[in-house]
Amino acid sequence: MTKDFPLYRLHPGQNGIVTRLSAEGLTRRRLLDLGLVVGTVVESIRKSPLGDPIAYGIRGAVIALRKEESSQVFVRAKNS
């Protein structure tokens, strides 16, 4: 199995599958509420002009995450 990496390193247009969350407490809760559970497919949609936040496609909704949060979500590349 290929190694996982932080979500923010997913390139726009690429899909990833959530492998784990390193966040704890309220941040973890918030990320789970947004639908980021293990096995979820996430698409990196586009970056804002300064590169942060980044918009992601998560379960049919577009959600912008700051690097602070997206660095605590780990994904592996989805073979497409």
Partner: protein, 267 residues
């Protein structure tokens, strides 16, 4: 029934939420993710003109209105839109406190048919608190436009609570919704929501904490759900119990809970 309510002070509870009820009125809470059409449903049912708008967070404090269906008067409470009830923000805490402490006769959860999956998180959180839930799949017109079909019967089966499909803007499905609200509030239907089983360590922890909670006699408050929140280390729920139910939790109760909580963390 009336007596039990009186005995744990539901009437004064509702006053704390600024809900004025005459006797015989049924309280219906309206919950849902932001921007799913809660206020549109609210206006359609009550005939009021609560401001609707296509941006999140416009209903910060709850609005209320009333309507009659058949022989029954209902008070409808429009709660702030939230993705979760696990109290990360003021809106979530308002919505959660209302659903668990104001003891509504029914809670209607409005969901967006175009991204249903994302909305089901809140549905599950609500059905963990109360069995008296109706799920509304709104914005069916937009879903049709996007060629999304929702199998309402299957959804009802899987969730274990009544499901109604609506287009609140045009009024489609609202009569069906009123009928279901009526049936639920009158006790003619008794939903049995699908219960989420947690892993064995959490379940064991619930089994030890739940009896401690039962001894506190917190009325209709769901003991399993409360146990889960305590395991979660959610302090806002303790504040809620002390504030709304006027029960002071003893230090020995808190330390027993902490002990159980520590066990789950260690394993």
């Amino acid at each position: 029934m009336g007596l039990t309510r009186q005995s744990f002070g539901a009437a004064s509870l509702r006053e704390k939420f600024a809900i004025s009820t005459k006797s015989g009125q049924k309280i219906i809470a309206l919950a849902g993710n932001p921007n799913t059409g809660k206020s549109t449903v609210f206006n359609a049912l009550t005939g009021l003109n609560q401001h609707t708008g296509n941006w999140p967070g416009k209903t910060v404090l709850q609005a209320q209105g009333s309507f009659y269906y058949l022989d029954q008067e209902f008070v409808l409470v429009d709660l702030p839109g939230t993705y979760s009830l696990l109290a990360n923000s003021i809106e979530e805490q308002v919505a959660r406190d209302f659903i668990c402490f104001a003891d509504p006769d029914a809670t209607v959860v409005i969901t967006d048919a175009t991204c249903l999956e994302r909305n089901l998180n809140l549905v599950l959180q609500v059905t963990e608190i109360t069995e008296r839930v109706i799920v509304v799949v709104n914005l069916l017109d937009e879903a049709r436009r996007k060629k999304i079909q929702v199998d309402l019967g299957k959804l009802e089966q899987e969730l274990g609570v009544p499901v109604v499909g609506t287009v609140a803007r045009s009024g489609e499905g609202l009569d069906d919704l009123k009928q279901k609200i009526y049936d639920l509030a009158k006790g003619r239907i008794n939903p049995k929501p699908t219960m989420i089983k947690y892993d064995i360590r959490v379940e064991e922890c619930i089994n030890t904490i739940e009896p401690l909670i039962s001894e506190l006699h917190l009325g209709r408050l769901n003991t399993r759900w409360l146990a889960l929140r305590l395991i979660d280390g959610d302090m806002t729920i303790i504040e809620g119990i002390e504030q709304y139910l006027g029960v002071n939790l003893s230090d020995s109760f808190k330390s027993e809970v902490s002990l159980e909580w520590a066990k789950v963390q260690v394993n």
